[in-house]
Symmetry: C2
Subunit: 526 residues, 2 copies
């Protein structure tokens, strides 16, 4: 380097780059963290319900899980849902769907075809999310493979190569090549690890050569792994031009491209999606629960009594009271604190502590499947702009049209405070940087700002203020919220977990609460 | 290192490891090399056929492509196929399928369900194989995403960790961690690249930290990207034990795991497969070609005349003669040289030069989808044993049974010279190293040794003797075979390409020959 960086210096530099936070964010967004997921072993079916009544507040997947399991065990469940639909952030937009963002009411008028949908919330089921998969199986929800990462897709950053988009494969093959070349050079020049034997060094060097596709001098001179510049089938293939390391380093998307590539869901845990939309899971539950779900029935008060819970709610403009033995509540914590209740002060403190994310998504109906003409059949294109990602559907291959996800980002005040027209223009303007005729190829935009969605006003609950870990106070508040009030009122949902924004967490929160209930009821009847 | 390896030494060591050949093999097997594929722009429809007759020998996909394109243009095509079925190495095994391996006749008796099949030959369509995809679209062949690589899957080598299988994700996350740590160390200690500025170094180091999930001291201390050791949803996740670099280096599968991971088809070009089996493409052609295909009609002589081609063949025990204006021939070169013909000597020399591969595959009906209980929903497990790979189906998720690919390897005299019983025992014995109850979970084996398959006796034609590149003689012979004999007889198929064992190549060989014919016919009529 012109200015060699000392060990101390480069550790400081990392702060500027944001190494750890980038990792954490990527991990959280892609659901990679969990691995040892275990669906709770519920044996409620063996439990006598004694005709007990249960009030379930909200109809997110934690609520539906609770209602389904308790109904199977003979409990008398009533689910109160404030909005016109079940599922919360499991929300699929298709022809006719109403998007009830406050101040930005939208009604989707895409072609009415099974493949023309957009999962505006949950969109991916990792193969290690056993509880979700278990319910898909139980409810008969057909699954198909989802594509998160495809190297044919684009990476675009105005700061790199004059803004010219490059194929992910060209970027990541080149980066791998340079990483391997640099490491091989250092291995050949110094004792990188004094514990390695000659045979181990041999294997490591061989692997670096393979990993980087280095030449016989252990140098990266381009690769045909990323595709040929020309030829390849009938004629000898030529290599594409090497993208210089200097150019590769111009973009801060390197982490997204290189880590998503490897840890992401394309090559991490396999991802799946229900055929026809994520809400197939919601309908799977809801169809079985039938009229136990009361729609347009907002809760107006929750009072925990010694022998049960009383829930006041509105229905058809009239106040109703639901008396139940137990209550399971997945109303978003920051909304729940505004509803009259008699929770203990510490419980309320815990509810108030949880912050909410501001993720947004947008989608277009594409008049033609233009990405397929670019050899793209699914997965993400990355762009260093507020839209951040463009997703192409891995379903409906070769049909006439498709739905393209036009933006997916977190915490985007810059985007979500725009008017609908401004949002759409942003999607088009940034999308054009990757797909030249984008503006002409897409139509009928839908945008979702989760913190403006009616009855939700936020997403992705977060406990820890500090990325470095949980404070003692946070641990305490979390445990407080996990305990039922008076043994009667349970807070459930991904807000009651340490890994929010995933269906698996929400379901596990329900299982955790149900297991607690189970113990209490068994103790009572023993 | 205890014995530091000099630059010269480590280059020598690479020979022992087989760096380049490993890369080439992986690339060829996964179809990664090509990228700039362009479907030929055929305009035969504009060409007057003048009722010309065409003899097409063999019914591989190059033959079917030729017949389909020429039929659309009004040519009178006859396809002579020696066996009872069309498609050659595009061969899907399902209930009732006859596997006519010589001396090892098998009839498949798996459950008769749409998802219970096994693509014994071609199995993957990369998103960059435009010609194949174009025909899928034209023929209405429904496609779905195929999974090549899934990090939940297993890596097993008796030489590593006492033979205990490890998850691909544990292996590759650890290897990435150590690579990043070593590179970061060297970057902090030396001028690795004097052309990098401080800002570029910062970005590179940040990227290595993200890539390897290093700690604040730029050391790899394990990761939760590979999943938690425990917890993760409701409780804090713990890291799994780190696999020591020394252990990671014990297996020669490192290249397969690390490069497939990144260049492979899971995260390389997206892979697809036809819904219901690869032979949906063959049926797509064959149903349109109808009785133009003559089955059980082996060719017995090919004589090129001044004004056409005469093809003798057998049908129902009787000799027949087919006189045609043109002939397109995809009979495997090493079989064609044994059929009487009047080809020029150099043409025959070229035909004889091509060697054939000996790939084999095996498959079982699984009595239950045991892999799904291990969080696996598709993709490859790698094993350092003659079976080499186990594939799990990405289709039929959560149904009762499935077909598991039990072996896939190349050049396996050790396997294919075994009796059927010995092959099956090998599949079970090695499979048990990954899945403890494998032997009890699978049944009804099918094995395919392509160099013993009737009417084929080989697969994966290869021109170059030397992995380093083509000799001048090889270039010459290749060009010789690409020219039609007397402007009348064309050799087609992947044997007439530089990238064998892929459908795309075979189709492009047909397009190349058709474009040549087109020019000749236009010249004639001009």
């Amino acid at each position: 380097m012109t200015n060699p960086v000392s060990r101390r210096e480069f550790l400081n530099l990392l702060g500027a780059y944001g190494g750890t936070s980038a990792v954490l964010q990527a991990g959280a967004a892609l659901g990679l963290m969990p691995g040892a997921s275990q669906a709770a072993d519920l044996s409620l079916l063996n439990m006598s319900s004694k005709g007990k009544k249960v009030a379930i507040l909200g109809s997110g997947i934690s609520a539906l899980t609770t209602a389904w399991e308790l109904s199977k065990a003979g409990y008398d469940c009533t689910i109160l849902e404030a909005s016109h639909r079940a599922g919360g952030r499991i929300f699929t937009v298709r022809s006719g769907t109403v998007v009830d963002e406050i101040g930005n009411y939208q009604r989707c008028d895409w072609d009415n075809e099974p493949h023309m949908y957009f999962n505006a919330g949950a969109a991916r089921i990792p193969s290690i999310h056993r509880s979700v998969l278990s319910y898909c199986k139980e409810l008969g929800v057909e699954l198909q493979v989802f594509v998160n990462e495809s190297k044919t897709n684009w990476v675009q950053d105005d700061a790199m190569l004059g803004g010219k988009p490059v194929r992910n494969t060209d970027y990541s093959s080149s980066m791998q090549g340079f990483i391997s070349e640099m490491l091989a050079k250092s291995l050949s020049e110094s004792e990188i690890d004094s514990s390695l034997t000659e045979s181990e060094s041999e294997t490591l060097l061989g692997m670096m050569r393979t990993f980087g596709d280095l030449d016989e001098n252990m140098l990266y001179k381009g690769t045909v792994r990323a595709g040929y510049g020309s030829g390849g089938f009938l004629d000898h293939g030529t290599k594409k031009d090497v993208i210089a390391l200097r150019d590769l380093l111009e973009t801060r998307l390197a982490g997204n491209v290189m880590v998503t590539t490897q840890e992401g869901t394309g090559s991490g845990p396999l991802l799946m999606q229900p055929v026809g939309g994520m809400d197939r899971i919601i309908y799977g539950f809801a169809n079985r629960l039938g009229d136990r779900i009361k729609f347009r029935s907002p809760v107006t008060a929750v009072m925990v009594k010694d022998d049960g819970v009383e829930v006041a709610y509105e229905q058809n403009g009239e106040s109703q009271l639901l008396k139940a033995d137990y209550c399971f509540n997945c109303i978003p914590s920051h909304l729940m604190t505004g509803i009259p209740n008699n929770f203990p002060a510490e419980y309320t403190t815990a509810l108030k502590y949880i912050r909410r994310g501001r993720a947004y998504k947008a989608a277009f109906q594409a008049k033609e499947r233009f990405w397929e003409k670019e050899d793209i059949y699914g997965g993400i294109s990355w762009i260093n702009a507020p839209i951040q990602q463009i997703w192409y559907p891995p379903h409906g291959i070769h049909l006439d049209k498709g739905v393209v996800l036009a933006a997916y980002n977190f915490g985007g005040a810059n985007f979500t405070e725009m008017t609908q027209e401004q949002r759409i223009e942003a999607c088009l303007m940034y999308g054009e940087k990757i797909h030249p005729n984008y503006r002409q190829l897409v139509e009928k935009p839908i945008t979702i700002a989760w913190h403006r969605m009616n009855h939700m006003l936020g997403c992705a609950p977060r406990w820890a203020r500090n990325r470095g870990g949980w404070s003692q106070e946070e641990e305490h508040l979390y445990e407080t919220l996990r305990q039922p009030v008076n043994g009667r009122h349970y807070m459930i949902g991904d807000q009651s977990t340490q890994h929010s924004a995933w269906m698996e967490s929400a379901i596990q929160s329900a299982h955790y609460a149900l297991a607690d209930l189970d113990q209490r009821v068994r103790a009572e009847t023993a």
